[in-house]
Amino acid sequence: MNTKFTVNFAWKNIVANKRRSFLTMLGMIIGVGSVISIMAIGAGAQSYVFSQLEVFGGNMVGVTPGASEEDGPPASVFGVVITTLTYDDAEGIKKIEHVTAVTPYANGNMKVSYRDKAKNVDFSGVTSDFMEVENSKIAEGRFLVEDEDGTVERNAVLGSEIAKDLFEDENPLGKKIKIGQESFTVVGVLTKKGSSLISSQDQQIYVPVRTAQKILLGIDYISLLRAKIDDEKNINQAMGEMESLLRNSHNLKAGMGNDFAVRSMSQALDIIGTVTGAISIFLGAIAAISLLVGGVGIMNIMLVSVTERTREVGLRKALGAKRKDIVAQFLVEAVMITFVGGVIGIVGGTIFSYVVAAAATAYGYRWDLIVSLNSVLLAVGVSTAIGLLFGIYPAYKAAGLNAIESLRYE
């Protein structure tokens, strides 16, 4: 049996009825397009997550209150408020070897106003070490200084977006804003940093931690703390020592679990990476279902095609086609439809992923377009397999037709 002839004939059949062929392929196109898009967007999300490492530096360690698995998210993600972490803990950690900077965070959200402008803003009570811990830079004025640590000064540093929102073109330095009912003096504005998973600095206001705790929030605990380690290789050791120190200061006896969690930046990003990965797989599985549906559609159309071409099958058999020749003919057609549909789906999916990447980048997220060779090969492989799988039944049905009866078929 001649392959070139078969392929040629199959292609002619597909082209002969473009609309029907397209509708048949549609399930395939959508399915493959979805899988490609989901994998590309998932990969883009992951690459974005890992890019955060560069923004903050890999040597950051965070301590969150409340027990939680190290390979899972902190308790606060679930809305639990735990009050066991304190400013003293932060000061204690600062003394640990290899720790170069530590800042506590006392977080809250309040109405902030300047003259006639008001909005609800996230704020954090921190110390002067914040700049080093988060690798931030000041655009105007200054950040909080060491002398202010531990005091209840009403000084505020604004994130770049907040400064714009409240002051527009006016110079914020020296002006007074109100946080809640309290009056604060703006002493500095941070540079634009871009959105990130760890913090949205541009939209926040920073005040001394004690001010936040005592004056604004009326609490004596902190939301979390972050520390900078001098070198990557010392991270584990430092984390160990932090744990010991905290266990001690929290009076945890042997056998009692931690009432806090220590995570390095890379651990935190690992978690996020795992979660985005899991979501991608889940969505991918759903997309795969649409591939199955597409396959069923193809099988359906192939069956109709077999019936329509009964006479043709009879003729071919009379002219010497063996069963396997007939099977091959229809199988080639099915695979061709799924393959072409797959290719169109890959192109469509890539275009869609590009649009998503472009949109994300426009919003300030560093998002790469990642369509991996793996995902393309996977898509091609799966579409071909579907063609084979769902084309087999119609092909066998055709091969089983009786030549004489088929030749009489109207």
């Binding site: 049996m1 001649n2 070139k4 002839f5 078969t6 040629n8 004939f9 002619k12 059949n13 002969a16 006479r311 043709e312 003729l315 071919r316 058999k317 009379a318 002219l319 010497g320 086609a321 063996k322 069963r323 020749d325 030549a403 004489i404 030749l407």
Partner: protein, 241 residues
């Protein structure tokens, strides 16, 4: 020298929901290479069934059919298909050309089913044959652009492409008018002159009289097997439906 076709007491019965009907009730005859035989009979006489058996499309219920020296009863489906492509050429009443396919590709179809087909050689042969039947200028046409007579001519070339031992024609002029019918019979007679063995099923008197021998079949039995005296020669215009 053994006959090309040897049919020995062949019967064919069909079963339909428990009811068994015998269509061919016991026929025997031989056909030598180079003969031109017309099998005649009315509808239901069993001629089509007999034709299918001769063409290896169907197997006898009992009896033997020797084709080209081989007992065809011993061949499996794949082997039968092989025989059909290599040794038998079919011509059908309704031409049965593939629609979205050029004349050339239609003609080459049997060659694609040969196990060791040389497509280049087949294409060369095809062009020569199409030239012979006057269709060299229609190589790229699809069947829907051809007249009935032209289509049947393409079908004849298709039947010849693998140099078959036997040409089986099922009502070759059935769908054609007088003029086209004459053209077709002229071609078949020419082929027979050159040595081709042709077995033709027909119910048209004029067509049958173009052959050299007539087998008349009625109610599943052959009741007459005679040479045709004074046969018609289509080339002489001696053919009018």
């Amino acid at each position: 020298m053994s006959s090309l076709i040897k049919v020995e007491n062949v019967t064919k019965s069909f079963e339909n929901g428990g009811l068994v009907t015998q269509i061919v009730k016991g026929v025997s005859f031989e056909i030598q290479e180079g003969e031109f035989v017309a099998i005649m009979g009315s509808s239901g006489s069993g001629k089509s069934t007999l034709m299918n058996i001769l063409g290896l499309l169907d197997k006898p219920t009992s009896g033997k059919y020797f084709f080209d020296g081989l007992d065809t009863g011993e061949l499996d489906d794949d082997k039968l298909a092989e025989f059909r492509s290599e040794r038998i050429g079919f011509i059908f009443q309704s031409y049965n050309l593939l629609e979205r396919t050029t004349v050339l590709d239609n003609v080459l179809l049997p060659a694609t089913y040969l196990d060791n087909g040389d497509m280049k050689e087949a294409a060369r042969k095809a062009k020569v044959l199409l030239e012979k039947v006057g269709l060299a200028h229609r190589l790229d046409y699809s069947p829907n652009k051809l007249s009935g007579g032209e289509q049947q001519r393409v079908a004849i070339v298709r039947a010849l492409i693998n140099d078959p031992k036997l040409i089986l024609a099922d009502e070759p002029t059935g769908n054609l008018d007088s003029k086209s019918g004459r053209e077709i019979m002229e071609i078949l007679q020419d082929l027979n002159e050159e040595g081709a063995t042709i077995v033709m099923v027909t119910h048209e008197q004029q067509t049958a009289e173009c052959a050299r021998r007539a087998l008349r079949i009625k109610d599943g039995l052959i009741f007459e097997d005679v040479a045709i005296e004074n046969r018609r020669l289509a080339a002489n215009g001696d053919y009018n439906k």
